[in-house]
Amino acid sequence: MSMNKKTMFTYGGLALFGILGPMLFPQYTLSIAYLWMMVLMASTWDTLGGQMGYNSLGNITFFGVGMYVSAIVQISFFYDGGVGEYTSAMGSIKPEFTAAEYFWGLGLGILAAGIVGLALSLVFSSFMFGLRGPYFAIGSLGLAIAVAEVTITIDYVGGASGISMPLFPGDIEFRSTFFYILCFAFTIVSHFLLRWLYSTQFGLAANAIRDDEDKAEAMGIPTLAYKRIGWAIAAFFMGCIGAVAGNMAGFIDKEVAYPIPTFGIFMVAMALLGGKGTLWGPVLGAIIFHVVKEATWTYLLNLQWVALGLILIINIVYFQQGIMGWLKTKYPELFGIVVDTSNIADDDEKEVAR
């Protein structure tokens, strides 16, 4: 993994911001945690959506499933009555977890969430990858809605009234710092995993699938296996971060676990805003999107959602290339693309001579 100076500076700057940000502005700790979460979502969406051309609108499914799985694990491991009793009490039971119990439960819950998300994506890929283009997008959106609707009919996990998560053993500042570190760590791990992955044969195969899947298959690339791996990685990280988000929120129900119109679409919009199919596009898009959203959200009152729809439309209809694409055409030198203008000059001279 070789890096040039510019990349080193970028990483240095981001790391500095990641470490100093919550120290200097403690009141924004959770907001920056959500920023990293969104970077993770957009980046993992891009694995399938940008690099392979399989535009999923249903990655949020794994987020919600991870949330519920971690809740079940955390409660059932250290509460004797079981999950059913806990949820049917509607939050009136507040079991006292010791710190050790809580952190063990959380760790196991996050791990279980990731693994269940991964397994679920493998199940989905057995019947989803025969769909192309819009059918895949609509099908995955359908999956997300169906899973969300089925979840709220299961009384074991609280049905429509939701579950309140175990209380954090510690004061509120330690709590936000702890979850901040979790979000930051997951984002770093996912980013470097994807960075390494794109530099291997996986990246080449993924782009071949995006450009022409039939030809890629004819060249002997096991396309289905690559697509499965791509979705499984996204699903694993979405499951893990879902578990973290559930504990951050403290209470989970359908709206928190399956935010299809918000996070489900945000991650796609952010990847498109930054420029899909690049490593840095989703990161840049997520940062800009989150900063703009946080800065304007409170001033918009009831018009927030209207503004959101407008941003989506304007972004997609008028700026399809994303910021990275725009930069690439505007300043190709930054990306190491050499534009050969000598021929143009020659042609001009010939034109004059004629």
């Binding site: 059918y135 809605i145 169906a146 609707e149 709220i152 959602w305 729809g309 407008l310 989506l312 439309i313």
Partner: protein, 301 residues
């Protein structure tokens, strides 16, 4: 669930008649919006995820007009042109710019439109569930086991009339011919002097008008709510995926099929599953189509 099955097939089989009738009533409405989607999809290759929100918008326009004491037939005649104009404006502002883009762009852009419409309707009318009460007589049969409000019958007749009008329009009129010619081969149509841009604009606006009509009917026989749109979009996609593009009889058949499926799931499994039902059927259709195509080593595209 077992109790419900017994109720249906052992104790009171006559309830089946009620469910089938209800399924037909709602299926007719689904068929209208699905046909609009098939038209836009087939002619200009736009997958309109805001389809359901057009339906809900039509419903709310009808609701607003009903508050002003406008009679039913007039409501339909006012809402359809209004939605037609709205569709034309949407075409000029956004659809024209994404026509030659890849398919996902149209999907996502119309999803943005769908969010926007939901929220604007929510701001204007509030999130309550609304319906138009026509205060018309209700017919019953089999000792009150089966009830049929006359408003539902009127709705069915209206839906049938609109469907017939659409078929005749597409087959006979010059505009209909131009639309079909453009769907077959846009370049040849342009060479023969058809203004493609106007045909596209007309098709999209026509679709909006059809959705508006469906919305009026929905607001009469059912309930409307700003956020119900997505289920209508999903239903339309399920119907079109099952029936194929530009095949009106199949679209109507699939519409009735989905109506029946939903009503039966709602009755047997409980109303909690009524939203999941159209989504499930969409997934089933997509999976079935994949296996169908896999036999010929092909994919659904």
């Amino acid at each position: 669930m077992w109790d419900n099955l017994q109720l249906l097939f052992v104790w009171a089989p006559i309830i089946n008649v009620q469910i089938i009738l209800d399924g037909i009533f709602v299926g007719a409405v689904f068929a209208l919006s699905a046909y609009g989607l098939a038209l836009v999809w087939g002619v200009m290759n736009i997958k309109n995820l805001a389809q359901g929100d057009f339906v809900i918008m039509g419903g709310y326009l009808a609701f607003a007009l009903h508050q002003l004491q406008v009679p039913l037939v007039l409501i339909l005649l006012i809402v359809m042109p209004l939605m037609f104009i709205f569709g034309w404006i949407i075409y000029i502002v956004m659809i024209r710019r994404i026509l030659d883009q890849d398919m996902f762009v149209s999907l996502l852009a119309t999803f943005g439109l769908s969010l926007l419409l939901q929220q604007v309707i929510n701001l204007i009318f509030g999130p309550e569930v609304q319906t138009i009460d026509m205060e018309m007589p209700v017919y019953d049969a089999f000792d009150n086991m089966v009830t049929v409000p006359s408003s539902k019958i009127i709705t069915l007749v209206l839906a049938a009339l609109i469907a017939v009008a659409v078929v005749v329009f597409m087959k006979r009129s010059r505009a209909g011919q131009a639309i079909r010619a453009t769907a077959q081969d846009p370049r040849a149509a342009r060479v023969l002097g058809i203004d493609i841009d106007r045909v596209y604009a007309f098709t999209f606006a026509f679709n909006a008008a059809l959705c508006g009509a469906a919305g009026v009917l929905v607001s009469i026989i059912w309930v409307i709510q700003p956020f119900y749109g997505i289920t209508y979009s999903v239903r339309s996609f399920a119907i079109v995926t099952a029936a194929g593009l530009g095949n009106l009889p199949a679209v109507i058949g699939a519409g009735f099929g989905i109506g029946l499926f939903e009503k039966y799931t709602g009755t047997i499994l409980g109303t909690a599953y009524e939203v999941a039902a159209p989504v499930t059927i969409l997934l089933l259709v997509l999976i079935y189509r994949q296996f169908q195509m896999r036999r010929n080593r092909q994919v659904v595209r």
